[in-house]
């Protein structure tokens, strides 16, 4: 079995005076597909950006595959940001060229294959693509790398249900025993079948880390239902009188 791929110890991060992460602790093994779940503003994107080295924590220790975020960790992490960052004038094929040049582990053949399957023309410029198609291109780039750690920030939010199924099966088919996939999402019912494990994050801390089948066994409900129970908000006017 694989060792610990991600180790976070007492991570703090504030934006100005507003804390986003408050002493977060986390250990994740390799060979897992993990859901990162939490309400808006709970710290999911901040955590992902710290793991891939885009943000530096104010305090605490982060180790990816035993190494602090840096050149090595970037070579083994494939990151899908929460918004697209590509120049509009670039063609889909140009992006593939870029990635092929930049990342040793980029599999061009796989990218071309996925493009065909999703019926995306590589000769089209990014600015001419719809929002959902842009997201698909981004996901193709990310999943065509043979990385040890995939960090996917809201990967399926903008695409149609059929493409969602394709993307989830792509994630499953890319699964390798040495790699871990961390998926942040609100669309829990769409992804929960592919997950091994879930992390619930709230107010900048991991409040629950469990195997999904253990949750179903213990609670007798789906992860989606558990999420709704844990993070239930009392509606306005619905208080006790």
């Amino acid at each position: 079995m694989g060792g610990m791929l991600i180790q976070c110890q007492d991570i703090w991060k504030s934006y100005g005076s507003r804390p986003a992460l408050r002493g977060l602790n986390l250990q994740l093994e390799s060979g897992r597909i993990v859901g990162l779940l939490g309400p808006n503003g709970s710290g999911k994107t901040t955590l992902i950006k710290i793991l891939n080295g885009l943000l530096t924590p104010d305090n605490g220790i982060v180790l990816i595959d035993g190494t602090e975020p840096g050149v090595y960790t970037k070579s083994i992490i494939s990151y899908l940001p929460d918004k697209p960052y590509f120049a509009g004038w670039m063609k889909v094929g140009d992006l593939f060229d870029f990635f092929e040049d930049f990342y040793m582990d980029f599999d061009r053949e796989k990218a071309d294959h996925m493009c065909k399957a999703l019926q995306i023309d590589e000769k089209l410029r990014m600015k001419t693509l719809s929002k959902g198609t842009k997201e698909k291109v981004q996901l193709i780039l990310v999943m065509s790398r043979r990385a040890k750690l995939y960090l996917l920030d809201e990967p399926i939010a903008g695409v149609d249900p059929a493409a969602r199924d394709y993307i989830l099966s792509t994630i499953l088919n890319n699964y390798n025993p040495e790699g871990t996939v961390l998926i942040s999402t609100h669309l829990i019912s769409d992804v929960e079948r592919v997950l091994d494990e879930v992390l619930f994050i709230q107010n900048g801390q991991v409040v629950r880390q469990e195997l999904v089948d253990d949750i179903r066994e213990k609670e007798g409900k789906s992860v989606d239902e558990l999420f709704r129970d844990v993070f239930r908000t009392v509606p306005f006017g619905g208080g006790v009188w």
Binding site: G31, R32, I33, D165, L168, S169, L172, N173, Y175, S189, E192, R193, V194, L195, D196, V212, D213, D214, R216, E217, G220, K221, S222, V223, D224, E225
Partner: protein
């Protein structure tokens, strides 16, 4: 055969139940090699670790045997297969009696209804 999964119950248990039925109904026959964990997982749209857990449970029940060179195949032991098939049939019959009992029928009345339907 379609996979039907309910998110409220542990997925691996449901996979185990459905694989058991596939074997006992002859979808996979005695001695037949099963697809790989990865193929089965992709087919059912579940995580390979979850499928692995279900298959390990089948090994434990003796329904499947894992051979280092051949992979995993359905057992050729007719006694095990017949025993499990009988057990499953008895479960279904018990469920039938429980359901008609809820409607107020005794076992004898239920049996009478069954016979009349067949005749």
């Amino acid at each position: 055969m379609e996979w039907k999964l309910d998110d409220n119950r542990p997925i691996w248990i449901q996979l185990q139940e459905q694989l058991t039925r596939k074997i006992l109904s002859g979808w996979y026959h005695a001695g037949e090699k099963l697809p790989s964990v990865r193929e089965l997982a992709a087919e059912a749209g579940v995580n390979p670790n979850t499928m692995q857990r279900a298959l390990a449970a089948l090994d434990q029940n003796g329904l499947t045997v894992t051979n280092r060179t051949m992979g995993r195949s359905v057992t050729e032991d007719g006694v095990i297969l017949e025993g499990m098939r009988r057990g499953l049939a008895e479960d279904i019959i018990r469920q039938f009696y429980d359901s008609v009992a809820e409607l107020g029928y005794s076992k004898e009345q239920a049996l009478e209804l069954l016979k009349r339907r067949d005749g």
